[in-house]
Symmetry: C2
Subunit: 456 residues, 2 copies
């Protein structure tokens, strides 16, 4: 049984695989901050070298932003393209980390050993599950498991500005029979999961300006407009008292969940109390007439992700600031149009600012929700492979996050995608003290080996 030989090799060489992952995690490839540009480049170089060592024809490809890694290898059977991203989220608030985010360590916890570092889960640990599966396969068979392309980007955490232009120019090179995307997680009870629907995302930064300079609240308070007040009023008005978003047209294109899907989701018996309890919460927020899984997978949201204005340092400053700012994002579902949503938000803001204030919107970007082609035979193969590895039935689930790449593969390359991954809800991705379970890593590698054996 050559698959067994591959699985054994994966288990035997796990320490080396973890050491390689730690090497990659040591590179602080924060794509959103220009200060780390050189590090993003180094991460791409590291991956090119590693893929080349497996027999891939691997290249680093320049873009106006951070480089792409494209690697081709193997032959025979259907052609699969594997996608991951080597960039990571910023690390602030840095003082909440228990250690240097870029000094990875294997840490024992009551729930088993974890890899602790920024990017351990999102997405370096996940993408390396695929690479390590290929490595074990090559070690046992001498060849890659079928015709593969590996496509890794370095701008996923900063909106992927170079991705679509790069795909357009290299459409022939990147087109395969199916894209495999490893940037998602296990279901909250630990069952393996294949994501079949994803929320989209529209986001922007807004600025409210009032006076031409900061004012002393003693000299002007009560007479001069305060842009923080204006901003809080505008943002507070985004939701009604039922938790619904008030923007005109916001719910255009939002479908109700079909009865059969609702039944499947009910069968998952989602433990929302546990899911919220893990992060110190207990009561579902948001629309009051929707179930927790609906809220996460099939309902759109409006969220303020950041707000700032006035004096925010030590002590107190009785200032009336000239400006106040917020970063706002909308999770989208069904056929909601990101541009239409951002336009509606802009009109809402412009209609809501009082005399003497101006509001501007910047950095507006969006991608629609997506729904996978679950009738492609790879989905059944994946369900079987994952069920086998994890000893629990793999589920078709929704996902609350946006992975715009899935939509781009379809819209730009006409290629369907399948999303599976091994992250856990408590991986603290985008938060301080991010981790990835060593067991997610090991069984993740083994899951890919099983799936590639079925697909090859």
């Amino acid at each position: 049984m050559t698959l067994d030989a591959v699985l054994s090799r994966i288990d035997q060489t796990l320490p080396e695989a973890l050491a390689r992952l730690c090497d990659l995690l040591r590179i602080p490839s924060i794509s959103t901050d220009p200060a780390f540009r050189g590090d993003c480049d180094r991460a791409a170089d590291w991956l090119v070298a590693d893929l080349a060592s497996l027999g891939f024809a691997a290249t680093k490809r320049a873009t106006p932003g951070h480089p792409m890694v494209v690697a081709h290898g193997g032959s025979g059977g259907p052609h699969f393209l594997f996608y991951g991203h080597y960039d990571v989220q910023p690390v602030d608030p840095i003082d909440l980390w228990n250690r240097d985010p870029f000094d990875p360590v294997i840490e024992d916890t009551p729930d088993g050993p974890v890899i602790r570092a920024r990017g351990a889960s999102d997405d370096k640990g996940q993408l390396m599950t695929f690479v390590e599966a290929c490595r074990a396969w090559v070690a046992v068979h001498g060849t890659l498991p079928g015709h593969l392309t590996v496509f890794l980007e370095g701008e996923e955490e900063s909106g992927s500005p170079s991705l679509v232009p790069f795909m357009r120019v290299h459409a022939a090179e990147l087109s395969a029979d199916l894209a495999l995307i490893c940037d998602t997680g296990l279901f909250s009870d630990g069952s393996p999961a294949i994501v079949t629907q994803l929320r989209g995302l529209a986001k922007c930064e807004i600025t409210v300006q009032a006076a031409s300079r900061d004012l002393h609240s003693g000299s002007y308070g009560g007479l001069a407009a305060n842009p923080i007040h204006v901003l809080t009023r505008l943002l507070a008005g985004l939701h009604d008292d039922q938790g619904r978003v008030t923007l005109p047209g916001f719910y255009d294109g939002v479908p109700e969940v079909p009865d059969d899907q609702r039944a499947q989701w009910q069968a998952l018996a989602f433990d929302h109390a546990g899911y919220l309890g893990d992060v110190g919460l207990s009561v579902p927020a948001g629309e009051i007439d929707r179930t927790p899984l609906e809220l996460l997978w099939s309902r759109p949201t409006a969220e303020v992700n950041g707000i700032w204005g006035g004096y925010t340092g030590e002590g107190f400053k009785t200032v009336l600031p000239a400006e106040a700012h917020a970063k706002v994002s909308f999770r989208l579902v069904g056929t909601q149009d990101p541009s239409a949503i951002l336009d509606s938000f802009r009109r809402y803001l412009e209609a809501g600012v009082p005399a003497d204030c101006r509001v501007t919107m910047g950095f507006a970007l969006g991608s629609p929700a997506s729904r996978m082609a679950v009738d492609h035979p790879a989905f059944a193969a994946a369900r079987a492979a994952l069920t086998e590895e994890w000893g629990r039935p793999a589920a078709f689930v929704g996902a609350g996050g946006s992975i715009p790449i899935a939509g781009y593969f379809k819209s730009v390359l006409g290629m369907d995608a399948m999303l599976l991954g091994f992250a856990r809800d408590d991986d603290r991705i985008h938060s301080p003290n991010e981790k990835y379970d060593v067991e997610s890593f090991r069984k993740g590698i083994r899951s890919w080996a099983r799936l590639l054996a079925r697909l090859a």
Copy 2:
């Protein structure tokens, strides 16, 4: 005419006086930031040495915070205590300054020469008008102009935590017939002004906490409470659509302006369009049924002076933060009770946070509004001296800002105070590019010389 000799000397030695002020301005005595503790100490030393050179028995007096400067000198006639503060506001946003805030320069502008630096107006330039008047007097007469105490603090911009305890301990030493406070300005049309009523101030920092850590809005958005939403809703609810503050009991103790005072204020013909126009605004905000001068001088306010939460750096991070924060202050009038207002605010916040969120209030401090004893003969003397120097009738005015010291002199020492100063509305105090007109400085010094001649 010995007064003429003093006035001439002031004009002749103006360059030296400006050079001395620039020396003091070079010391970055930011009281609110612990990093500048040594600089606050240096500023106190500088003032002690300068006052000693005029014949004052000057001492630096330790407090748990920044030191006090106390100097006694002269003899005969009533005893006046002069108060000023040597600490300055923080300088951020530093990128909006056209030069180093602590590298003072005399700059020509279309409106005449100005001294440009943090603290030029608030309050180093102002306090030095009194010191320079004493210096010229000593040069001409050989003695100080009467029995004087100079009392300078270094914590005015950070809430004066040491002031009342220090006054209590040194009550006998600090008690005089009247306090003279130089921390106010000319009326907006440039007329000299004596402030006879001041708004009080209550302030605090509030924190809304939701989840136990920052969350990914893809994994939790729509289900988990967002503390920024909670904060914006709470702050937006502080005002109704008439601009009135909604806190229960907030208007208890707020008097209507008496008819005779209203008539006086109307006679001032306040140019609110010009006042607002200078800072890029045009429409009075706040309570819609009040006149602009009422809003500034005799109406209470609630203002958010700072707000922060979530991701506020470059780029975008789709985070649901664990916490959101705001700095909030209330300008008070009449007999409004700062503690009662802060209590009402706390109850409002606690009643308004949804399940799973907690709100805490910190750094709560307050001082009530105050009203001066205008029948003290020094007020008539000051009106005459100022009218003579500036060639325009001096007015009794209100002030929107809080100078809690006036209230403390009364409540702790039983001493009345008179507030006069020479700052201009466009001095940008608390803002980038603060300045003080050279003419404010020169005529300010001369005004004190004239007043001291009348009082001595």
